[in-house]
């Protein structure tokens, strides 16, 4: 498995996959995609990096502990329900804000998107944590 070609190409591929996972995450609002699938792609990127460069390298690259990322994701997903409290709608209702970008365009920020980003963090964190633990045990 640990050939020169693989070790050389894996970091670049990892970066590409993480980028793709962010694309899938943001695309997911209106089209197929979303936090769960995006998170899976990012987690498999981490797996690839782990196979090529070892567990320690993944931990360094992630900077935060994967479990911490999962916790942050749960917090973010739960927090995406809080604006509903202010707007007097039921928990987790979709709320949209239009943020002006200055050039006449608007950026649609919404609570479903925040929730999805939370899901992304949970999936990346949890699956990476499981994977790293299993890889370390061997």
């Amino acid at each position: 498995m640990n050939t020169v070609i693989f070790r050389t190409i894996a970091p670049a591929l990892t970066a590409l996959m993480v980028l793709f996972s962010l694309f899938v995450l943001l695309r997911g609002h209106n089209e197929p995609g979303g936090g769960f699938i995006g998170g899976l792609i990012a987690a498999s990127a981490m797996a690839l990096y782990g196979i090529s460069s070892g567990v320690q390298a993944v931990r360094r690259a992630l900077y935060f502990h994967p479990i911490t990322m999962a916790g942050f994701g749960v917090l973010l997903a739960a927090a995406s329900g809080i604006p509903s409290y202010i707007n007097q709608v039921p928990f987790l209702s979709g709320i949209w804000w239009k943020l002006p970008l200055g050039n006449g365009q608007y950026f649609d920020l919404s609570t479903p998107m925040i929730f999805d980003i939370g899901v992304w963090f949970v999936v990346v964190g949890a699956i990476t944590a499981i994977m790293l633990t299993l890889e370390e045990a061997d």
Binding site: G71, L75, A78, P90
Partner: protein, 521 residues
């Protein structure tokens, strides 16, 4: 844009009162704090205070919800702004609110006990996070108004309980966890199968909507089979007679605080699910379900009592006593009159408190004696009077003797069975109580009053365990003392709990307000 009149058929267009949020608070608060404690997993000193704050807040939320329901009847909130059958509903009646309140209280007591029992390594592995997640699962199960959501909460609960069970990773824990994991997984999978088939027949997952759909359904035979599948699935969770083997195989393996939280919460969720499914989905019992409930319940009571007598390990004995209590709850569901259901609710509250107390006390006794084998424990009364008194009191409570809280629900249950001419159920309850008295009586004679080991003369016994310091003993005994007082208070002044239990029974039998609060109209 979509036409608002069409929109208002599927989405909630009126503003939601902030008070409506009360219903999700007991679930949401521990969830947020669990996420927070997961993020702060390196900071061991913060874990315990965070967990205490979370459980205090959710206790406050539960009390709020309880008062709401007391004055306004069943409450409901359908998430994400959809209307009821489309969105996921949380619906609570007096039964759910009472259970949530007691579950939060029990968790608080166990957190108070935890510093004495949980070491640094366990905190590092996330003990407090897992306890909070367990509370999320339990409160979510009590509050949800959607059958698939109930399955999800069951799994939340199950996964956190797996984590708690193997915390420490000793041999005995792994052995217990294998049995616990597979049998419980089988139970939840059966629940999922039955839920899928129910959805296929009725086309809905919302409890309130199921109530109307099942009543109009013509697939009576399939529904009768489904009711038995639900019965089987939840009987595994509740540890009823032929499906109870996982409970005594696993509950004595983890640390004591974990055993106590399992004993207080997990089986009661199974019982709650049984009550909920067999009131809103199968209100008539469809088929022979209620008769089977009676048979299983009676056998559970008796087998639990016999098992308790046969055990030589203190915590295994308590596991069988717990199971025997579940049998009494199932008998209550089987009789299904308002008196029996009030007794069921009251007994569930009593059992949650008292079994938690007994497990916590077994931790104190085990520490003092250095063993959980009843034959090797002795002279507790010589070492500490308070421990002896607490065991005596809780033993009276669990066997249903006055002046403690076990008496009244058993009395009401026997009365309800008598009024329904179910004489063999009366016999089962009384035989079970007698066996329980024999088991705890023998344990208390051997552990508390006996001077030392078998065959050693009195006064020559030296406890193998540690001498507990005054401060440590205070931490361990405080939650037990609170449970002791509560059980005593509910024993001599049962009216307040009986009133709540009657309300809960009324809500169980009169499902219309529950349905109305979810579906509106």
């Amino acid at each position: 844009m979509v036409d608002p009149t069409i929109l208002s058929q599927a989405m909630k267009t009126t503003p939601t009162l902030l008070a409506d949020w009360n219903i999700i608070m007991p679930m949401l608060i521990p969830l947020v704090f669990a996420a927070g404690s997961l993020m702060l997993r390196g900071k061991d000193k913060w874990q315990m205070p965070m967990a205490i704050v979370a459980v205090l807040l959710s206790l406050f939320g539960a009390a709020n919800l309880f008062l709401d329901i007391l004055y306004l009847g069943p409450q409901s909130l359908t998430l994400s702004g959809w209307l009821a059958p489309y969105g996921i509903s949380f619906t609570a009646d007096a039964l759910s609110a009472l259970f949530v309140l007691v579950a939060s209280l029990v968790t608080l007591l166990i957190l108070m006990y935890s510093p004495a029992d949980v070491d640094k390594a366990a905190i590092k592995s996330g003990y407090y996070t897992l306890v909070l997640m367990l509370l999320v699962g339990v409160n979510g199960s009590f509050l949800t108004g959607d059958i698939f959501n109930l399955y999800v909460w069951f799994e939340v609960m199950l996964i956190s309980s797996f984590g708690l069970l193997i915390l420490g990773g000793e041999k005995i824990q792994l052995d217990g966890a294998v049995k616990y994991a597979f049998l419980n997984l089988l139970g939840t999978t059966f629940f999922l199968i039955a839920t899928g088939l129910l959805y296929g027949i009725t086309g809905t997952l919302n409890f309130a909507h199921l109530f109307t759909q099942v009543a109009n359904s013509e697939a009576e035979g399939t529904l009768a089979i489904l009711s038995l599948m639900f019965l089987f699935a939840f009987a595994i969770k509740a540890a009823a007679f032929p499906m109870y083997f996982w409970l005594p195989a696993a509950y004595h393996t983890p640390r004591v605080a974990v055993s106590a939280i399992f004993a207080g919460l997990l089986t009661k969720v199974g019982v709650y699910a049984l009550i909920r499914i067999f009131t809103v989905v199968f209100p008539e019992g469809n088929g022979a379900a209620f008769e089977i409930f009676g048979i299983l319940g009676g056998l559970t009571v008796i087998v639990g009592g016999i098992g308790a007598i046969a055990q030589t390990e203190l915590r295994r004995m308590l596991a069988y006593l717990l199971m025997s209590g579940v049998g009494i709850l199932m008998i209550g569901i089987s009789i299904h009159t308002d008196l029996a259901l009030a007794a069921t609710v009251q007994y569930a509250v009593h059992s949650m408190l008292v079994m938690t107390g007994l497990y916590l006390l077994s931790g104190v006794i085990g520490r003092m004696a250095g063993s959980f084998e009843i034959a090797k424990i002795g002279g507790i009364v010589m070492q500490n009077h308070y421990v002896a008194i607490a065991f005596f009191g809780l033993a009276l409570a669990v066997s249903g003797l006055p002046p403690f809280s076990g008496l009244w629900p058993k009395y009401m249950m026997v009365q309800a069975a008598f009024m329904n001419d179910n004489y063999w159920l009366i016999a089962a309850i009384l035989i079970g109580s007698f066996l329980t008295i024999a088991a705890v009586g023998r344990a208390s004679i051997q552990m508390i009053w006996r001077g030392g080991d078998v065959d050693t003369p009195d006064g020559q016994y030296e406890a193998r365990g540690q001498r507990l310091g005054a401060k440590q003993l205070r931490v361990m005994m405080l939650p037990i003392a609170i449970i002791f007082m509560l059980s005593f208070a509910l024993g001599i002044m049962p009216e307040s709990l009986i009133r709540q239990a009657n309300l809960a029974a009324y809500d169980i039998l009169n499902i219309a307000p529950y349905v109305k609060s979810t579906l509106g109209g």
